[in-house]
């Protein structure tokens, strides 16, 4: 038997969105050990980070959608992740993203998240997604607003206070 693991590749102007892979582990460990992970479930140790990596693949199998890892299309440098998360505790599927220090400040996360959002609308039937954002995560809040998302309501995710931002509905292509 084989697991149904059909993670599509998406290319944008500068990026390739692809399946998480083992070589991403080291940069992920650095990310989850750093302050950058404070708003997205960190810090995590190496063991928990490995579980994050493997569970992202399992998420695709169980849900049929999940997180892509994105890399620089030319150099192959792994820069971050984006996609749809839907685990127990989530009140609906979420569009999430994180960018590694290497990819900060160049608009990569926006470019990847917009591609993921469009793909989810076209292929997963998820055309009106929301994002959970820690109010203090000013960079991500700013990015959500740039993507056209607006504050919807306050929420609690896994025991942590957060804001729900609603993305514009993606119209049928």
């Amino acid at each position: 038997m084989s697991l149904t693991l059909n993670i599509p590749e998406i290319e944008t102007e500068r990026l390739r969105l692809r399946a998480p892979q083992l070589s991403d582990l080291e940069p992920m460990v650095a990310f989850y050990a750093s302050d950058r992970s404070a708003f997205v479930g960190g810090p995590r140790d190496e063991a928990a980070t490995f579980t994050s990596l493997t569970s992202r693949l399992g998420h695709w199998v169980v849900r049929g959608y999940g997180l892509w890892h994105f890399e620089d299309k030319t150099s192959g440098t792994f820069l971050g992740w984006t996609g749809i998360i839907n685990a127990p505790g989530w009140h609906e599927p979420e569009l999430g993203w994180s960018v590694l220090a290497e990819g900060e400040g160049k608009g990569y996360a926006s470019e990847a998240a917009i591609a993921a959002r469009s793909y989810a609308a076209e292929h997963f039937g998820l055309s009106h997604l929301m994002s959970y954002l820690a109010p203090a995560n000013s960079r991500s809040v700013a990015m959500a607003k740039r993507l056209g998302a607006t504050f919807e309501h306050e929420h609690e995710l896994l025991g942590k206070f957060c804001h729900v931002y609603r993305h514009p509905k993606v119209e049928a292509l």
Partner: protein, 201 residues
Amino acid sequence: MSVPTIPVLETKRLVLRGPEPEDYPNFKATFASYRSRFMGGPLNAYETWMLYAAEIGHWNIRGYGMWMIHDKATDETLGMAGGWFPAKWPEREIAWIIWPDKAGKGYALEATHAVRRHFYEQLGWDGAVSYIDPKNLDSIRLAERLGAVKDKTAASVDGHDVVYRHPSPDALRSSQIADAIEMEISHYADPMFKPKGHALD
């Protein structure tokens, strides 16, 4: 990207298949229970779901992982057994867990014996260990019934577990361990010879 092919292993009473989304409820019940106390549990709903997703993803990342153990006759799930190798673990582990209400019938012995043979004969492993909580007496007994011996010199995962080293493929072939395991399994399968004594995995 590569899609892992998970071999189906058959034993006298069991069929081992890769973990499938519909097998989740029994896994969830076990990891919400006290039964999981030696495997990092009990876990909340989010942690349990992520661990199950990680069990699936492990196959993709490592090319091997934990099989779901099914009763050959009824197809119901009984537990899991297979290989486990998270980041920074000293060695590849052979691991097992049996649902609380399915313990005591030798399923873990039968399944683990089969997965170890698969790793040795099909994947060319030259050995393996099991990391066991020293208070988990059932698992220690199972490791010993599989011919594993405590290795005090080997590195443990976090200092709170003991390392049981499985016999090498050669040792397993050239000794009576495998015969003894198969005899014990056949006794579980034949109620006339059901092993006496307290419940074992």
